[in-house]
Amino acid sequence: MPVLATVGEPAGSVASGWASSSRTFRAFQCWLTVYRRIWRSSVWSSVLGPVFYLGAMGFGLGSLVNKHGTASLGGVSYLAFVAPAILASSAMNTGMQEASWPVFGSLKWNKIYIGAQASPLRPEDIFRGHLMFMTMRLAMNAAVTIVFMWAFGAVRSAWVVVAWPVAVLTGVAFAAPIAAFAVLAKNELSFVYIFRFGMMPLMLFSGTFFPLSQLPEGLRAVAYATPLWHGVALCRALSLGSGLSLLGALGHVAYLAVLAAIGIWAAGRTYRRRLYV
């Protein structure tokens, strides 16, 4: 009989790193197969979401705002001001959506996690594979949004290309911690609270629809601490091509990266706790 103990990979070696990323990719492929079945319905929300937002906010609200002067927006049209913020906040939205019900459903409904658990995939692989899929969805949606921003004439700089990965990072910074939480959720009600008391205020008070200078001092400090504001500020600076130093940009990236890293670390633990009972 072959001795299995020799198969166990020593931690941290190149071989184990390769085996681990290969397992992540195998878990990811499952989601691709599932997505191939449902992509049509997801296209609607991916395409129509940004179109509605850009149309309603940029043109509808924008025509009102522009009449009263846009000095507080930095002299750009409201559409140009709000479009990159919509890019960042839809990334947050997608990240939170993809990491809540689908994670919960993988345990309770289609049981993808439970099925995968019986295979060589470990809880960490199952999580990373799913996160890879969420990242792919974020990249798709952000790309569509940027194309529409450009088509609507909302883009002021070629730097907007860099706003693409920034929006993806913003989404991952939300998706990873929420997945870490969702895998332990007892019921779906928990998500309603996250969306109502987490996503809504963030969307409204992170400088998305109006500059933070309009907020009272105390609230402004809170807004600066929220992750969405960092995504919004960076995407906006990149789309407008102004208003940010390299150091400031790196600060935003670092904040989001740290949040994503904490989420990934925490999910590794919570997935293990939930799946290895």
């Binding site: 009989m1 103990a5 397992r23 060589p120």
Partner: protein, 314 residues
């Protein structure tokens, strides 16, 4: 006992224990499972069978005790061990939105098998579980029996050395159960080691070379179905059913009857005897007239009743 191909145990447990908080689901069990045999954990719901199976499946770390699977430690080498196991869980975990074939493709990828290999094996496995003509159908509308067969096909995609089956036919209608049993029997013939849990005595009798009768997280007895019956049950059982009005009186009277043992159930009285027909004659001679009577051979159900004082499916 089928131990011809080696004396080294595929699965070895010593003092294996699983606790959930203050509840002890599995309470220090010992066993050795060998290559090529079909081993069953027989017991009622809550006996600790599924917890034992999850530990063997390397998805539930033991609380204490030793467990070795394929010569390795399930906690440290879980991933490598699972690569060589097949698992048929109690509840199907098929993706019902996907087709029959897609379920096999996705699952095969989890094991890192090349697509070409998965396709070849999938075709053979669907043939084996008689689902070839449904390969392109969605799983959702399939009957429980067909889903179970697909789950079995899926569990074989990595050509496992050990197949773990947790209540493989629970919830299936009798005909579907027989089809599943037939397929499992063929797997056994091919040399696949089967480890299963069940609370059906007929399933245990049909499939298992060796059984552990489980109750409250411990083994009440262990042996082949035949041995267990010989050891814990009389050769014949006389089942008597009386008018409900007279049930208790009859039970009282039969307590002193010269049987090896008498069991009084809610609706029947069982007399464990050597010769059922002559026992029935004696019962009638004593003035008792049962509404119906049945002489049968001892079964695992009787063994379980004897060992635990309860019926299996309660």
């Amino acid at each position: 006992m089928l131990r011809a191909s080696g004396t080294e145990a595929l699965v070895r447990a010593r003092g294996l224990t699983k606790k959930f908080g203050s509840f002890t689901a599995v309470d220090g069990i010992d066993f050795d499972l060998y290559r090529g045999e079909a081993f069953g954990f027989l017991g009622p719901n809550g006996a600790g069978k599924s917890s034992t199976m999850r530990m063997i499946g390397c998805v539930s770390p033991p609380t204490s005790g030793e467990l070795t699977i394929l010569g390795a430690d399930p906690v440290r080498d879980g991933s490598a061990i699972r690569a060589r196991l097949g698992v048929v869980p109690q509840e199907d975990t098929l993706d019902v939105e996907l087709t029959v074939l897609e379920n096999l493709l996705v699952y095969g990828r989890y094991f890192g098998l090349p697509r070409r290999v998965i396709r070849e094996r999938a075709a053979a496995l669907l043939e084996f579980v008689q689902l070839s003509d449904r390969a392109k159908d969605k799983v959702d509308p399939l009957s429980g029996g067909l889903k179970r067969r697909l789950t079995i096909a899926r569990s074989l995609i990595n050509e496992p050395e050990i197949l773990l089956l947790d209540e493989p036919t629970t919830g299936l209608d009798p005909q579907a159960r027989h089809v599943v049993w037939d397929r499992l029997f063929r797997l056994k013939q091919r040399g696949v080691t089967l480890i299963l849990t069940t609370h059906y005595m007929d399933e245990a009798e049909q499939l298992c070379d060796r059984l552990a009768v489980m109750d409250h997280g411990t083994f009440a007895a262990e042996g082949s179905p035949r041995d267990l019956i010989t050891q814990y049950c009389s050769p014949e059982v006389l089942e008597l059913r009386f008018d409900p009005e007279l049930h208790e009186a009859a039970a009282d009277k039969l307590k002193d009857f010269p049987a090896e043992r008498a069991e009084v159930l809610a609706d029947r009285i069982l007399l464990y005897v050597t010769d059922g027909d002559s026992a029935l004659v004696s019962v009638r001679a004593s003035g008792l007239e049962p509404l119906t009577s049945l002489v049968r051979r001892g079964t695992l159900e009787d063994v379980f009743l004897r060992l635990t004082g309860r019926r299996l499916e309660d």
